[in-house]
């Protein structure tokens, strides 16, 4: 049975496609966007996230850690030395207070689909279904494909939330089992894209064009990151590109949110966007207006 690394299954997901959905978050992403609000999704292997506020200073993790990476501070609370921590997650098993939580677990396709199927009644009442997200769900190609195929088999509608940075063959493989793609456009300039996400945009845009040409249902998603992709030129290029796609697709404008910052800390990673706040409402409205000028159906928010 195919297995994959899943870091969350979120039920009553109501911002990731039509109706009431269950979103399955797969771990691992080819891009490394500093604004990512799910930084725990980026690395393909399990991580440990820390919630120090919940620590009850019982010391169990200190004894449990095979790497001796955990010590206690003046209040008796656990502190991890990131240099020694190998993210094995042993400490999370001993932390009943959930101050240490493992992120990412190996699951079989049927385990995931059985969880997904639990909300079938809600999907059927709402036109919802399952959404694969991440990370980049298609980076776990075989697992994602099986999940989609098995969901479809059980009459559950499917969506894939993708950054597009995978081989076209992956799209070809999953396309027959995917009702809707939620497709991110991060930056129209290849160099800027590479600088910010670690990869260029050519393959991403090419895949999008091909997918559109095949008449597939796609919702475009444009996350507005102040100072990175919200300049007028980029927005115009985004609009022009979307308008020139073989088919018309609605565009969601998503305001950047600093929500992820906290999670970087919990993963022991540094957050490079620092104090960057969310764009102001009028800026978002401005972005939407610019895009609408290209005769696109634009909506703000997920």
């Amino acid at each position: 049975m195919t297995t994959g690394i899943v870091f969350d299954i979120k039920r009553f997901s109501i911002h990731d496609g039509p109706g009431i959905r269950t979103t399955v978050f797969l771990k691992g992403c080819p891009l490394h966007c500093p604004w990512c609000h799910n930084p725990e999704s980026q690395h393909p292997d399990p991580d440990v996230m820390l919630y120090p506020g919940r620590c009850i200073a019982c010391g169990s993790c200190v004894d449990a850690c095979p790497e001796h990476a955990i010590s206690r501070d003046a209040e008796g609370k656990a502190v991890t030395d990131p240099a020694l921590c190998k993210r094995c997650g042993t400490c999370t098993e001993h932390c009943y207070a959930e101050a240490r939580r493992r992120v990412g677990q190996e699951m079989t396709v049927s385990e995931v689909v059985e969880e997904v199927e639990r909300d079938r009644d809600f999907y059927e009442e709402s036109g919802g279904g399952v959404t694969l997200s991440g990370g980049e769900p298609l980076s776990q190609k075989a697992f994602a494909l099986e999940l989609l195929r098995e969901s479809r088999e059980r009459g559950i509608r499917t969506a894939v939330d993708t950054c597009g940075a995978v081989a076209w063959s992956v799209f070809e493989a999953v396309r027959p089992y995917t009702d809707l793609f939620l497709y991110d456009i991060k930056h129209m300039d290849d160099a800027a894209h590479r600088e910010n996400t670690g990869a260029g945009n050519r393959r991403i845009l090419k895949n999008l064009e091909k997918l559109s040409a095949l008449g597939h249902a796609i919702n475009l998603r444009f996350a507005v990151i102040p100072g990175i992709n919200d300049d007028e030129e980029n927005i115009r290029r985004t609009g022009a590109f979307a308008a020139a796609l073989p088919n018309r697709h609605p565009v969601s404008v998503l305001p950047f949110h600093a929500a992820g910052g906290e999670k970087y800390k919990r993963l022991g990673q540094s957050y490079t966007l620092g104090e960057l706040g969310p764009p102001q409402d009028h800026r978002i409205a401005g972005v939407a207006r610019l895009l609408e000028a290209y005769d696109l159906e634009v909506r703000i928010g997920g």
Partner: protein, 809 residues
């Protein structure tokens, strides 16, 4: 209902949310404000009148006739109040929120009055005069001879011990068995028609063929007297209206008063012919029922949209009524309910936080007698009124059948979003199943609905009496101590084995089941006696004439006169008991990570020095509300034990006992009498409420909660109560409202009985910040996604709090 109702009027900001262009008229705004501003007070008028009546030499009359004459005395002598600008007239007391007492049922001591006057929440002002009358007239007569005295005297020692330990409560010790709702009969018949029916029934009595004919005749005589008495109350209001009209300078108001006088002369004596007459008629009936005694829960008109629709359609078609005028009348009608706080309690319960709401729940939607969609224009009109009035009372509900349009539910969702806890939402299709299972005809089932909190009943035809709450987690505490209550050290239940000696979970559960049956038996034995005490000493002839088939059978409502007679015992703490049993099964018997002795020691010390163990119990136990069958199967087993102990057992009225799962606010009291529990709950803390999971136990979002809750067989209950919390952002846009509708439809497809939504405010988020463990289930919309509030960093929490403050509706 729910705790947010404890703090009195929901909104006094004068904010009206409907978006209707006009909003309430100036008259309505003034009356509404007057209602909000009125200070609840104790009125001794009723008590003094009843005392004077009872002091008369008791002539050779039967008990029902005596009660009927007492009622007539009250209707003839009580103050008649018509306020300036009112269109619907009549108050239960001499003025708005002047709340009568019922000394023949329970007599307030002066100490009770002090508590009511001084308590911080939901106080009742007690004037010097009221104190004097209570001390000089009421107490000397009633002390030691009220129904409450009789009840407490009649109960067995085992009942008293269990009652004092907080194993169950008793509804009827302070309020009369009520809990019934009116159907459409008053819109077809005036009181004179009822009198004709009563006389026909009396004519049909034959003592030679029917050995109980004398008793029936006395009951019917009594009903006839009360029908006449309520006509008198109407005429007295007509006289007052005419008196005021004579003094009135303003021509428009004079005309209104003359119209009121005409209407009050006509109804309740005669069948109503107009929308206005129909409302005024109902209101006199309401005053009659709630003055005769103080029945749980407040009487209400039931399916008001269906009752009013024929009047509305006829008059709007004829051009004699506009939507605007109908709306104004409904506004006035709503304000009338808000002017009547629930009767205040006596004894220890007076000291507890109480509520002003009397649980009159007006139903909208549902199906007609022929099973078709009942939503009509008046349904939407009522929903507008609910939103515009934003009053604590009356409460309101949406009866949602799969046949009703989404537009109806979405209209209700817009009101829910405004965050005052109304309307609650019920599954008509399951409510009908519940009634069919308990023997109602299909037509009676379709004409029924829900009332009080969530209770199912056949409107106009059923006495469905709530008899008391049952503390399921307390039974586990007693089971774990071999029948002894560890809080008092007293033996209350049978010896069912030392906990440490149970070989497996099944042995423990069997012991728990035995204890449940033991205490249910004590409760039911008490109930049977109490029901008969009411039937003998406090018959209710006025209520009886309104409920089928009391006239036809010549029997009182309290004595089995209703077509259907149900006694409910309401189970409380389902989430807490499930999680506690699950914790024992999982950790003690399956994983063997804790021994029973260690667990009991930790519970005994309230987890002192055992925080890690407590965290294990809280976080590593399969818990109810997560769609986890390991926990939900336990919930179902508990349900079966409780159901099996109660359902179908005969009551004194020829009907049966049934179960309900709802707490009102008793989960707080019930928690206060229990020590620490195996689910990690600390001693004295509140239990879970309704069929909701333990506060913070559900971590998988609302659909998982609904799936867990739907695993019990709601159709075998007479009502379950499920609360869900949302922040305003989730419901902000059209899409959010659609998803709320879909969520409800999904739950109802799974045969859930009821759901209500609390839209979370900034204050709640602050509380969640302070005590995250109790709010682990709170989901907020962060940006393009939602997350658990307690998992967010502090800065983000602050931002969401600020946003919630700004985006409140």
């Amino acid at each position: 209902m729910d705790k947010e109702f404890d703090s009195g009027p929901v909104d006094d900001s004068g904010r009206y949310g409907s978006g209707k262009a006009q909003g309430p008229t100036a008259r309505v705004r003034r009356l509404r404000q007057q209602s909000l501003d009125a200070e609840p007070s104790i009125s001794t008028e009723r008590a003094v009148l009843m005392t004077a009546f009872y002091r008369q030499p008791r002539t050779l009359v039967s008990e029902p006739v005596w009660r009927a004459r007492a009622f007539r005395h009250l209707m003839e002598h009580r103050t008649v109040c018509i306020l300036d600008g009112e269109l619907i007239v009549g108050e239960k007391g001499p003025e708005p929120k002047a709340t009568p007492t019922y000394p023949e049922l329970c007599c307030h001591s002066l100490e009770d009055f002090e508590i009511l006057d001084g308590r911080e929440k939901t106080p009742f002002r007690v004037s010097e005069q009221a104190r004097r009358e209570q001390a000089g007239t009421v107490i000397p007569f009633w002390q030691g001879r009220s129904m409450r005295d009789r009840i407490l005297e009649a109960m067995a020692p085992e009942w008293h011990e269990a009652y004092q330990a907080g194993i169950f409560t008793e509804f009827m010790e302070q309020r009369s068995p009520g809990h019934t709702v009116l159907d459409d009969k008053i819109y077809r018949k005036g009181m004179l028609d009822f009198i004709a029916d009563i006389e026909a029934a009396m004519d049909g009595l034959d003592d030679s063929a029917d050995p109980l004919a004398w008793e029936r005749r006395e009951q019917l005589k009594a009903m006839k007297i009360t029908a006449g008495a309520i006509i008198t109350l109407g005429r007295r209001h007509a006289e007052e209206a005419r008196r005021q009209a004579g003094l009135e300078k303003n021509a428009q108001r004079r005309a209104e008063l003359e119209e009121i006088a005409r209407i009050c002369d006509k109804v309740p004596a005669n069948r109503p012919d107009t929308f206005h007459e129909a409302l005024q008629y109902y209101w006199f009936v309401h005053l009659g029922v709630t003055s005769e005694l103080n029945p749980w829960d407040a009487f209400n008109p039931g399916k008001l949209d269906q009752h009013l629709y024929p009047f509305y359609r006829r008059e709007t078609a004829a051009g004699t009524l506009t939507r605007r005028a109908a709306e104004e009348l409904l506004h006035c009608f709503w304000i009338k309910f808000n002017n009547q706080p629930a009767p205040p309690k006596v004894g220890v319960t007076a000291a507890e936080s109480s509520t002003y709401t009397d649980f009159a729940q007006i139903n909208t939607g549902g199906v007609k007698a022929d099973g078709s969609d009942a939503v009509n224009e008046v349904t939407y009109l009522l929903l507008d009124v609910i939103e515009e009035m934003r009053l604590l009372q009356p409460s309101s509900s949406v009866q949602l059948s799969r046949k009703n349009p989404d537009r109806f539910m979405k209209r209700a969702a817009r009101i829910i979003r405004t965050g005052f806890g109304q309307p609650s939402v019920f599954n008509t299709d399951v409510v009908i199943q519940e009634m069919l299972r308990t023997g109602k005809t299909l037509e009676d089932a379709r004409n029924g609905g829900t009332s009080g909190c969530v209770e199912t009943g056949a409107f106009g035809k059923e006495n469905y009496c709530l008899t008391g709450y049952f503390n399921l987690p307390k039974i586990l505490e007693i089971t774990l101590h071999d029948g002894v209550d560890p809080q008092s050290g007293k033996r209350l239940g049978p010896r069912t084995g030392q906990a440490a000696e149970f070989k497996d979970y099944d042995e423990l559960f069997a012991a728990f089941a035995r204890q449940v049956r033991h205490f249910v038996d004590i409760k039911i034995r008490g109930n049977q006696v109490i029901e008969q005490l009411y039937a003998h000493h406090l018959p209710v002839p006025f209520l009886s004439l309104l409920i089928d088939d009391c006239i036809a059978t010549g029997r009182d409502y309290h004595a089995g006169g209703a077509r259907y007679n149900t006694s409910y015992i309401q189970g409380v703490g389902l989430g807490s008991i499930t999680d506690s049993l699950s914790a024992i099964r999982h950790h003690v018997f399956n994983e063997k990570s804790v021994s029973m002795t260690e667990l009991l020691d930790a519970l005994g010390s309230d987890f002192d020095g055992q925080e890690r163990l407590r965290q294990l119990l809280v976080n590593r136990t399969p818990r109810y509300g997560n769609d986890d069958d390991r926990a939900d199967d336990i919930m179902r087993e508990v349900f079966e034990v409780y159901f099996g102990a109660i359902d179908g057992r005969p009551n004194s009225k020829g009907g049966s006992y049934r179960i309900n799962l709802l707490p009102t606010t008793v989960h707080v009291y019930f928690g206060s009498v229990i020590g620490a529990m195996p689910d990690g709950r600390r001693a004295g803390k509140p239990l879970s409420e309704g069929i909701s999971p333990v506060q913070g136990a559900d971590r998988k979002g609302p659909t998982a909660v609904l799936r867990s809750a739907a695993k019990m067989d709601h159709a075998r209950t007479g009502g379950t109560l499920l609360n869900q919390k949302f922040t305003p952002q989730v419901l902000k846009d059209e899409e959010g409202l659609d998803k709320l509708v879909q969520l409800v439809r999904g739950y109802f497809r799974l045969d859930g009985h009821h759901i209500q939504f609390n839209v979370v405010d900034a204050e709640t988020l602050r509380k969640a910040q302070a005590s995250p463990e109790e709010y682990r289930d709170l989901i907020v919309r962060v940006a393009g996604y939602s997350d658990y509030f307690c998992d967010l960093g502090e800065a983000l929490q602050e931002e969401i709090i600020t946003r919630t403050e700004h985006e409140a509706f």
